[in-house]
Symmetry: D2
Subunit: 336 residues, 4 copies
């Protein structure tokens, strides 16, 4: 960490600052220039908040050199992590497609869709039981009944299942869920992250609507700090000024994450665009950019979907897309 | 709600759509043009999600005419709501300044600051006991011990207290808290909002980092839908590309909210800028723009603050600022 | 265009409004509801500004149904446009890679790089002669001398050339340039666009830093309205809150544009990320997403580049990348 | 400027880099740590582009310590600049209100509005002659005829006039214009800025839609580098995700600019919100935040305005607002 001091900083106040930092176990390198005195802090600075230093009266600006995330950091763990979720392996070298409806609506619906997506080559079933909805008057999901139906679909097809958790008291309901999703709106629900850190279930951590990649990795770090290292990151679009798509898919997040972390990263093109017509081109782009998988919404009757139908493919469209994805994943030497 | 149909929509599919909408209790007004058929839905459309309609195959686009929030809507409740929190009244005609440290750190600290801000004219004490921090390695607050210290400061000074809740299981700890804060990162933690809807404590609902004003009002609606109408909105800056301030204070949110809702709105200039030097000009601007109050960070030793010191005023700076605020609030005919 | 009137609009003022619109040659469809009166305008509304209507006292809100761009609109021109630039054809079915340095620096430099990129398979040479730089103290390009050097490189290699125009008085300098680039900062320099509308040179129109896709197409419309239909669009990243990349590549712009317009679209991954390590994954993603080409910065000595070296590939890296791009373009059945 | 080197940087390459920097006239301070070698560059670094350094292979990251603007920098010029435009003085201690229509439409219109706004206390008349419009089919202004009408209004009322330039070839048409406006879309039209740097007319430089404050000051620096120091900055809202206002007024820009530069800053609340109902609260907030003036749209018949009527006040509304502004400017001890 580099700290530039104000040029009016007194010798005395500098001495006190250096002393404080030394007491925190850091080595301090002082460099006095004609205009600015600059301090280099050497050692483990992850517990030090740059904004805190910024508040000290003699400090002009602070620059962090080492990243604030440790366990998620590729520098600490150069090999790619492979995450097991049910019977599938997610990570570098593999390509998994998670598919299913936005919401679980009925036994018939989820079992039919599960059968369809499995036949087309999906390796995991998604379906919302607890649904975060902007409006309190909108359909909020079937709750524990929805999870039970997902488990039935899992039994019927053998597909492992992923569904979203919104409440830390619900964790026991997720015992038979193979991958627990933390949605964009809860990416910084730190109490939920801590709770998930205590279990050993794999977690699918979606990026928040307007969160930086660094904040996203810090949320992964929350879970890892609790002891749970089974994390898959999911980019689902960020909020910008553009209105022709619901969000803006940040495809660059894939190579950034591949360089900064050892954790797998998948893409959700359905939520990123809110438009079923764009799911295919963005899915292909995701394979090419190096993502480890996709999460795609599929509904047997999108026009009747209780939520987010506009972005859902029907089973025939999904089957056709899977053909395209498989060819490209093989082209990129991924096991699909 | 107005729905523009695709020009290739068949008579048959239009009939089915009209029928569906009628079954939902809505009146349907059909207008067939040469290029587009347009449908107007008349009645209570708050439970209808525009995105859902969008997914229907024959639909080209959807425009909501009436706002999706009801209980928060000024149209439904033309008079300004006045919210009681402890012994203070927040809302149109009044001007309240909430002040205190980012975090409660010790009994001495919080009681000293409480005394200072009361003397300067603050009407409520703030202090974080549960702190949302980006890093799991950063100080997370004194938790229930922090709330106990706030209550001591309340007893010592008579100031009502506000502090943030991060976990719906903690609600019992807030019995003696006068105003429960929901932070920006939890604005769409819907399970927490529902829980707060069940109690009758006033809630200070901060705007999310990248949430629209409509989404913010929908989060207020979540609490109100549960029966708790005691909500104060707090604008604290949104995320943009600008880097010279930590966030961008959306001062326009004040007149927008004053026109759209009857709920009070206050401004947090400390978090909006992350810079103590900007707190004074933005506080004055907030009074002038019509805000009902301010929330300002004050620390007796900002350089030693365990979090967010850079944005904290010291007691002398706060006293001077309060002088400026009082003159302006009186100029605007507000009771301060 | 649909116009929702305020419920207090008088019969008289509505009549006057309907009359005004009729005088503009539009058909007016009036629909009176219990709460709102809604007006549909039928006919060519491209010259009508929605904001203007919005200002009329009786108007509550305005919704445009037909897009404001005409000549750029795929509805008016369903077939893909193929644009000739020198000896190359840009558009659907083809894949062109434009490569070269950020700035032309010397005869040796540009001729050496031109030879290198041609050998690797680039079909066009880029190089800045007039450079838009944030600082007036930074290198601004070799100006007309730079264009002369590009022409020498064109003669030496046979590659057509593209370079940026910043000043409408310079158009004569571009006589031997095959494709004139309008940079992001000049996307809404309307006088420059009008001037380019008068010539018949193909134009490479980059998206502005924070412009919507609709605004971008309206800028294309400016050039087309002048009579010049030879436009290639270039997505180069938009400005968001993310800081790990210089900009955020909006890959979704490719399928959006492919559906909204007949004009070709290429991607500039170098400027989008500002990081040479991300050029390869984003180039591959661009091919897969359906782009018609790429514009990539290549420098024979990136560390010595006078501008934007951080995002430049060296010739060996570019050669390797071209191998990857060719395989993928062929996989997508594009002629490269 | 501080440069952090990669830990694999060889002694040899570091030596070459140090030598390069020394040749550029900079003093180099080298600090070798166990993990990172850090270089401090001391001297005038304004001509050095951080991105250029970033491209050098051994460089990990670069941090600029001194700001890249010199002549606009308050450090170089601690006293507030007062800018003369016609018979008025703009800057600290004064408060000027510029008012008038979006577009000059006719002699009657501009003379009537000029008389009205003068009577209410405006000190300068605005009116667009050359209008930047998103659509080529929209009204683009009366051009030189519009300037002639403004000059007539100036003669009739004595008010100095401000109008926008869009084309560097038009500068001669602005001889009798007192203040030349550079619009948001041309903030980085560097050739236009250079041309304005050569004349001695005061320039009203609006902030670009998505430009940082630093970039804005660099655009001022372009004009100043040419010798013209008469610059007034105008904040007019930035682009964000919020849709209830056309743009988001960045009120924090006022205190940021007051600390970073000696140039005056005014606010345009009409363009910032696109909504006449918000002009009054944001005008009051601007006075309180420390702005040196306002630019407000006033039209004698907003519903008939040829552009941007929605944000225009009528003369009666403006007169009432001026009463409010005067009281507040006097309260802040400004000469109005």
């Amino acid at each position: 960490m580099i700290i530039v001091l104000k040029n009016k900083a007194s010798k005395d106040s500098i001495d006190r600052f250096v002393n404080d930092m030394t007491l925190k176990g850091l080595n301090v390198h002082l460099s006095e220039g004609s205009e600015h005195t600059i301090i280099g802090l050497i050692g483990d600075t992850t517990a030090i908040n740059a904004d805190d230093l910024q508040s000290i009266e003699i400090v002009e600006s602070v620059k962090r050199i080492s990243e604030p995330f440790k366990q998620a950091n590729r520098k600490m763990h150069p090999d790619d992590s492979l995450i097991k979720a049910g019977n599938i392996t997610v990570g570098e070298g593999f390509f998994n497609v998670i598919a299913g409806p936005c919401s679980v609506e009925s036994e018939e619906q989820i079992i039919e869709i599960a059968g369809d997506v499995k036949k087309s080559g999906a390796s995991m079933l998604r379906g919302g039981a607890f649904k975060p909805r902007t409006s309190p008057y909108a359909f909020q999901g079937l709750h524990d009944e929805g999870i039970k139906l997902l488990i039935k679909a899992k039994k019927a097809t053998g597909l492992p299942i992923v569904t979203e958790i919104m409440n830390l008291n619900h964790i026991d309901l997720f015992t038979d869920v193979d991958l627990i999703q933390v949605g964009a709106r809860n990416m910084q629900n730190f109490d939920l992250l801590k709770e998930l850190g205590k279990c050993d279930k794999p977690v699918l951590l979606k990026r928040g609507l307007a969160n930086t990649i660094e904040e996203w990795l810090m949320s992964a770090e929350y879970i890892m700090a609790g002891g749970n290292h089974n994390i898959i990151l999911c980019e689902r679009g960020i909020r910008t000024f553009e209105t022709m798509t619901r969000n803006t898919l940040d495809i660059s997040a894939v190579p950034v994450l591949k360089s900064k972390t050892h954790l797998p990263v998948i893409i959700d093109p359905s939520h990123a665009t809110g438009n079923s017509a764009m799911v295919a081109p963005l899915s292909k782009a995701s394979v090419a950019a190096g993502a480890d998988g996709l999460m795609i919404e599929v509904h047997n009757n999108p026009s009747k979907a209780l939520c987010d139908g506009a972005q859902s493919l029907n089973p025939a469209q999904f089957e056709s897309l899977m053909g395209e994805i498989k060819k490209r994943a093989e082209f990129e030497n991924k096991i699909i």
